[in-house]
């Protein structure tokens, strides 16, 4: 897999801080499964967190805390070194498999949401606004022009699409913000399946929602 489109460093900073909304967080993890370059970049965010922690003003710790911890370490079970995992053979990243319960994209109950487009919604943490789910776009199908309210991440799992920004194939991630509007078109050679998340504030509509709106006129 040759990856040409990567995560924005601002996204990796928020990922490192642990503050990405759940859908965006899952897509970052999925891309990291595919991409060793972004894994390396993500480590820098942990370093930033480490530096800020090191620089924290100190708060006094109760004396009983230390003796409690020194007691607990006598009996604590040590962690064994985990074996490194091999790269995923499956089309579906492990983090999505764990969420959905299957590795087979064709087994999902896709819901038709417009001409040539189906959708499969994924669960996100309560309180997180925006869309999180899979989109399946028929070969050559154009998705209506749309902008974004906040951040939107799209990770390609099967096939490819192209838009004003470039050509996106399996493993590529489009990391877009509100300033960008685009018209993705699935490649003619085959359908395109991608996982999409955004954190659009409610005054904006997520693009899959507007897509449905456009096609079926909600």
């Amino acid at each position: 897999m040759t990856i040409t489109h990567h995560l924005d460093h601002a996204t990796l900073v928020s990922y490192g801080a642990g503050t990405l909304p759940s859908g965006l967080n899952t897509i970052v993890k999925a891309h990291l499964e595919f991409c060793s370059a972004c894994r390396k970049d993500a480590l820098v965010a942990n370093e930033i967190g480490g530096s800020l922690l090191n620089d924290s003003q100190e708060v006094e710790v109760s004396a009983s805390s230390k003796s409690a911890v020194m007691d607990k370490i006598q009996t604590a079970t040590l962690h064994r070194f985990p074996l490194p995992r091999s790269a995923s053979e499956s089309e579906m990243p492990r983090v999505l498999q764990a969420l959905i319960g299957t590795a087979d994209l064709d087994q999902l109950k896709w819901r038709k949401s417009g001409p040539g487009v189906s959708m499969f919604k994924l669960p996100q943490k309560s309180g997180d606004a925006g869309f999180f789910g899979l989109l399946r776009i028929a070969p050559g199908q154009k998705v209506p022009d749309h902008g974004h309210g906040g951040t939107e991440l799209t990770l390609i799992l099967r096939g490819a699409y192209h838009d004003e920004i470039g050509h996106f194939a399996r493993g590529d991630v489009a990391d877009l913000d509100e300033s960008i509007s685009h018209t993705p078109t699935a490649a003619d050679e085959g359908e395109c399946i991608c996982v999409v998340a955004n954190d659009a504030p409610t005054r904006f509509r997520s693009w899959p929602a507007r897509l449905v709106q456009r096609f079926i006129g909600i």
């Binding site: 601002a10 642990g18 480490g50 800020l52 100190e58 006094e60 710790v61 962690h79």
Partner: protein, 182 residues
């Protein structure tokens, strides 16, 4: 305490289960970890409690410190962040693990490379002191106040794009300084 000294202590814990070395780490880290947890919204009692979990994890996971290819302070940060996510949001802690799951540990790493990792952290700590205040503020809001990019944008009353570009600039500046040859 220097980064090298801290790294030497955690190796004593990893290799010899050295309780004295661990006690020194406790004295140095516990007040910082507790402060971090209070920043992230825990009350004093909750922070005391989670701090104990973090220190215990440092003991039980000591042998994993070499895995993520980072500095000791970054490793402690990921443990504290994940303990917090675990406790407060009742989510599975997962972030520190993902790196070591995918990237095998380089068994051939010598003591020189190890020292290099801590040297980078020292350079980063120095670089952090002279990044522009508007960039530093955004890092603090993300890492200490635990705000999302959208929340930072509305708190500072700037467009989301400005938050992102300041984050990118801070990232590039700090990374550049970290990787600068000494």
């Amino acid at each position: 305490m220097s980064q090298d000294h801290l790294a030497a202590l955690i190796r004593l814990v990893a290799q010899n289960r050295d309780r004295e070395a661990f006690a020194s780490l406790f004295d140095h880290l516990a007040p910082k970890v507790k402060a971090f947890l209070i920043h992230r919204g825990l009350n004093a009692a909750g922070a005391e409690d989670v701090m104990q979990d973090v220190m215990l994890s440092i003991w039980t996971k000591a042998s994993l410190y070499d895995a993520p290819r980072g500095s000791f302070q970054a490793w402690v940060f990921t443990i504290a962040r994940n303990a917090l996510i675990d406790r407060v949001r009742r989510q599975k802690p997962d972030i520190s693990i993902d790196m070591i799951e995918w990237d095998p540990v380089d068994e051939t790493e010598g003591s020189e490379e190890r020292m290099l990792r801590e040297e980078r952290a020292t350079k980063l700590n120095n670089a952090m002191k002279d990044i522009p205040p508007d960039q530093f503020a955004i890092l603090q809001l993300a890492f200490h106040e635990e705000l999302t990019q959208t929340e930072i944008a509305s708190k500072l009353n700037v467009p989301l794009g400005t938050v992102k570009s300041r984050m990118r600039l801070a990232y590039a500046h700090l990374r550049g300084r970290m990787e600068l040859a000494s």
